[in-house]
Symmetry: D2
Subunit: 313 residues, 4 copies
């Protein structure tokens, strides 16, 4: 079995799911306020929400359209919203537009499209709906080739770009076996921070990076669509024959990276693996896959750590 920084990496693959999504840039007067505003859009956890949001890189004022600090946000639809069907796209667009309609409430916010040209798939004039908040007092303008609306609000103006892009994004999940929860939380937080700092275009679950995963379907409660990953739960390892939790492992944590393309997900997983394996108490890293039920794309862990080791050499 391969190892990285002394930690075992199982020779398996990450099952990545491509889902209808959009990527936006949220700027505000200061970095603190931009973060608070962006986080308010980073809600939901996929199993139950029409749209889930994840936090991306900080973008410095030198690189934003309005010269104010900002953060990227990835807005990701449900698996049922198929980008290849008109209905799938429309369902996503409606949920996406509804979410953007919250933004004029947020002090000093501006919201820009942030899907790069090469990932452009379908256009959405979501901004045309959001601007109606202005009740006829909103005004048009151009900033760096972007068509935007200035919407008057109590604190001044709220900015929304006219056109956004509906495209797809990819996920990548690691399954990290740890001695205890302290190591798990320290490791996934450190990895998520490093991804946001170093990997342009990657997104994480802010601030702790990790969640308890789900399996599709159920063993006992047959009508449930998703339930706990019984084979990865330390407290019931003696009751579950197919358990994958060895002695000495008291916590398993699922750690995720998202991006508009698989190459960026891989870069995110690579620095995450380097960070996570350097934290004391991490026992083994794998990825649980559901035989294609979750996603069609495969990311081999072996390939990622080979790159890591070459980079180090």
């Amino acid at each position: 079995m391969a190892t990285l920084n002394g930690v075992e990496i199982e020779d398996t693959y990450v099952e990545s799911c491509e889902i209808t999504s959009s990527q936006i840039l949220v700027t505000s007067l200061t970095k603190d306020i931009a973060l608070a505003n962006a986080q308010r859009l980073c809600r939901g956890i996929i199993t139950f929400s029409p749209i889930e949001g994840f936090l991306g890189n900080y973008v410095s004022p030198s690189e934003t359209p309005d010269r104010r600090p900002g953060f990227y946000v990835l807005l990701r639809g449900m698996r049922s919203m198929d980008i290849d069907t008109k209905k799938g796209r429309e369902t996503f667009e409606e949920a996406f537009t509804n979410l953007l309609c919250l933004t004029p409430h947020m002090p000093t916010i501006a919201v820009f499209n942030a899907v790069p040209k090469e990932k452009t798939a379908f256009a959405s004039d979501a901004g045309q709906v959001v601007r109606l908040w202005g009740d006829g007092f909103e005004t048009k303008a151009k900033v760096q080739g972007r068509q935007i609306f200035h919407i008057p609000v109590m604190t001044g103006e709220s900015i929304i770009e006219k056109s956004f892009v509906i495209t797809t994004s990819f996920d990548g999940a690691l399954e990290i076996s740890c001695q205890d929860i302290s190591s798990a939380l320290l490791a996934t937080k450190a990895a998520a921070e490093r991804v946001l700092d170093e990997v342009k275009g990657a997104f994480v679950m802010h601030p702790f990076g990790g969640v308890n995963g789900a399996k599709i379907g159920a063993i006992n409660y047959k009508t449930q669509k998703a339930t706990t990953t019984t084979f990865l739960c330390p407290t019931i390892r003696n009751k579950v024959p197919e358990t994958r939790v060895p002695e000495g492992v008291n916590t398993v944590i699922e750690y995720l990276v998202w991006a508009l393309d698989i190459a960026t997900v891989k870069k995110g997983l690579k620095v995450s693996l380097d960070t996570i394996t350097r934290i004391p108490g991490i026992k083994r890293i794998s990825s649980f896959n559901q035989g294609g039920l979750w996603g069609k794309h495969k990311i081999q862990l072996r390939e990622i750590i080979e790159k890591s080791q070459n980079a180090r050499a």
Copy 2:
């Protein structure tokens, strides 16, 4: 006109809306994680969401059922969810239960009912739905007279109480006229922090305390249910005859406090007013009311500041 710390307080009232709600306590392994978990439930802004969440007091391990740090969260439904009708209660209960179903994903979380006995209205066994996540491996237990479920998850166990309470809560909004946005943000953040620290049972919009408000209906876009509060927008004061924004005011911010009873909303507004009026650049405080369209309960600003001044004397 009355003044507090040298700032004008208009002689008007806050229009408070009573809405179907529940109040929960979220605990976790550490304060940081408890806060991150609680905030993930504090999503939404009322105009568009079935449930909006607000952050409440930190609760120290000495006072929580599981001796771990926690935060209160107020979950508030939509105006259409009438607690006096079966349908209203059921619509709220469904949205509430869906939201709680996210919690087993969150590392180390426990979720307890936090509605005090005297505010109990209707019971909801939402925990009976959430526990199904355990796929038959969840177990029952009693903690301090509470019936709880231990749900096995990857990081260990997720705790959910069996029964919650559906009741009502109240809001209270101030309209703060400021020289500029810097004063507005400093003041509302300071006020929100102080409310969480000093007023037991009060809730705020964390961390900045303030939003851009909405008016019901529209002047120009007649089909819109809610639009910007045109008469409070500084940038269009010259285009709106009914403007309430005087010269020298470049920002107005709406600041809100919520609680399960009006007395606590008043206490929250009282310390908020004391804090806000001490920040340089605050020009005038009022509350915009919609003639009963928003809510039936009235909180007189005069009454609140009289209490403030007595407390000081």
Copy 3:
């Protein structure tokens, strides 16, 4: 051996050292700024500094002399500054006054004496020196029976109380044996937060609560006054016959609480023990004492945990 929450507590005592000190209250325009200003005074680690500072409770605007948010700071001298001798007191007073002379540089700061009446020992008119910063433009005033100076500064005014109190304070150190550093850091941070939140008058090393300890003198480098606690270092346990680090312990961390009286130190250690022993990966708690070389006061761990268990029963 006694246990608390399943963790072994050695039957030994904490050796507490009484040292010449003062306690101040730092307030500022907002909580964030008050914290930044207070932390700038919390410098130093005893072995080398004339004064070391520790962070205390947040004090809400309702309870501060100037109705602004504040934090307590404990300023603690060196062991050589004997409060019973004129020279000891003068050496402390000089270092204390020098430190306070930094405060007019800090935006919006006010500094008040915070030694309670019953702990008053010697008075120091340190504020009379600090006020000279005003170059003749400072003014006198009275606030709640306190004589203060308003010193004009660029951002407005800096406030300093005229008289401070020189008294003594006590420390209390735990030695926490952990599976790994992740548990150690999570546990001591959580304990330090809880002490600041629950134990009035207690102080901690903010924000992580823990340090690497020192032993007085040396084994090999005879001229060194203090060196690493060789018998508590995991990486050299095989080279040090007197090691107290068992197999399975990869980190030991020293965790400290300070206060103006031993009773408060005990209360701080009590909630700290309750918090630390609930974090997974904590193996054993003790306190290393130096046979009275460090301090003359003894705090029995047994006594503290008995109180803990009674409180719980």
Copy 4:
């Protein structure tokens, strides 16, 4: 008079003082701990301390010698420590070494020299003193061409590089006239954050960026070496004929950037000016100089903003 983003910039120069200094890199297990450790070294304010420390850029694990997250710290001596004299260098080296001797107390810390080759002036084997903390159990190693010591400590090991560099650094101070303190604090915090994010090798006063300045000498208290900048204090403008505080300005704040070379100070001031002038409530920017009494190097504000405007065009 020139303007930037609508704010007046006085046509004057910043008086920059070259002072004996060193630059180090502090790494730790996680970013949070690295920041806490680095900040503990960023103590003091020049008027009274032998060494003052300032926070620099975050350095990602991909770029640090030990692959852990880190922060730069600039350690700056007193004006009396002349690098061109043996005594000046020795006085700095002693204070610098004393400060580094605190580091083995800090959990998981490593301290590396961070003076670039081209700024190397004098070598200091400060690490040879710090390593004595290991009491003979410390060991030597090489990391990326650096000679380091592993010092056993309770939490594991503390790392110190053997050789550091004594060189000089430069400061640059702006004087920012603001409508009120809210604008001042928002602006200087935002500027300081942006400098750390965008300008490699620059240092700021973390986290608020601003201080109340000092003038050398006094008007009334002739024996004082430094006193408040009377001509910049808003509350006494009517008592000081030479006041530079116009009506409408209620706060002036001094904002500083430091670096090992003047070019980096200029870059830091450039992005700071761009950020500060975009915050509402900023009235005018200047720099007060003391006719060469403070420093011999001049940075023309005009030159900096010309670059800003070209960069924007």
